[in-house]
Assembly symmetry: C2
DNA sequence: GTCTATATACGGATAGAC
DNA sequence: GTCTATCCGTATATAGAC
């Protein structure tokens, strides 16, 4: 087992604990115990607790950023792009459901450039989504609702999907995508 | 300034700090400093940090519980009731936006009966909402989508409303209610 | 790569003076 | 009601043996 893999293992174990209790309530001893080693041994693989958090969060933030770029480059209508964003979020949620808790709840515990980089990526992401929505309204694809309400209604749902995707068990991903797109786009009435 | 008021002030100050950094990252010294006193002085008004958290969270949880009961007793159609739930969430968000962060993110740091009471209230709340949605589908008021997708789509949006209500500034509450009900019920296409 | 031992800081909370 | 002083537990992190 080489160092790279061991580091990934630490990050994975930490993700799961962060999801349960949050970054500040998880100690290095907790992480070490979960891996069957002592806390001091962790420092042979990572520089400290902060590195675990930033590795975790920035990895995911880059996934969303590149995913959004792919949507922008896809060349579809605004409506197509919104569907693609929803599907992207579901894909990332299914593949990284443990780590998404830290992204959502613990990003403010990042430090220095890690924090500012994350905040910038997040703002850019929202801006790109906002532009798609506004274009959809202009072109008449979307109803003329307040763009901010549309933006945060969809984003809130997608960002907290990780909380109940697992709880509800083996929902087929494609069924989930279809239902989610339908509910978010066409409403329920 | 009597004790009751002083305690409320502590809880209010703590709410704001919990929203910024989360329960575990806020120290009693932080709270005291924000109030211009020393940490030891806080203990003349509250028994400890835990009491601040539980006061805060259970107060809000009871608000949601009684609000849901009022909706159930209102005697409207399932669709009416869903609208009332949305409006109730918006009212509580507008009046308690600072404290909602702790309710959403720090409830797992409650202890003993406080924790179990909260979890039960939350489950009951979701169950009541789920029943309304299912009844709406049965009666043909709602489209026959997966009830869980509808439930969590609406709840996710409402529960994180506190995050951006302030940021977007002086949105009129009645306009917000109207837009939110429209987007969540009728969709955007 | 993991261990024991330890440095150092900070957390919640209490005692007792004013 | 607030203060100073302090107890005691736990946190991150490092040093050095194996």
């Amino acid at each position: 087992m080489n160092t790279a893999t061991r580091k990934e293992e630490i990050v994975a174990v930490a993700s799961s604990l962060f999801k349960e209790k949050g970054y500040n309530a998880v100690s290095m001893r907790d992480i070490a115990q979960e891996m069957g080693i002592k806390a001091a041994s962790l420092y042979n693989h990572i520089s400290g607790k902060q590195e675990i958090l930033s590795t975790l969060i920035l990895y995911l933030a880059r996934k969303f950023t590149s995913g959004m770029q792919a949507v922008i480059d896809s060349g579809g209508t605004p409506l197509d792009k919104i569907k693609e964003v929803i599907e992207m979020h579901i894909d990332i949620t299914v593949n990284h459901s443990e780590a998404l808790a830290a992204l959502n709840n613990d990003w403010m515990h990042l430090e220095n450039e890690d924090l500012s980089n994350f905040v910038r990526m997040r703002e850019d992401y929202e801006d790109n989504f906002r532009k798609i929505i506004k274009q959809g309204i202009e072109e008449g694809d979307l109803k003329p609702r307040h763009p901010e309400v549309i933006l945060f209604s969809i984003l809130s749902t997608l960002r907290t999907l990780y909380l109940w995707y697992q709880k509800r068990g083996k929902l087929d991903v494609n069924v989930l995508k279809k239902d989610m797109v339908a509910v978010l786009l066409e409403g329920i009435v």
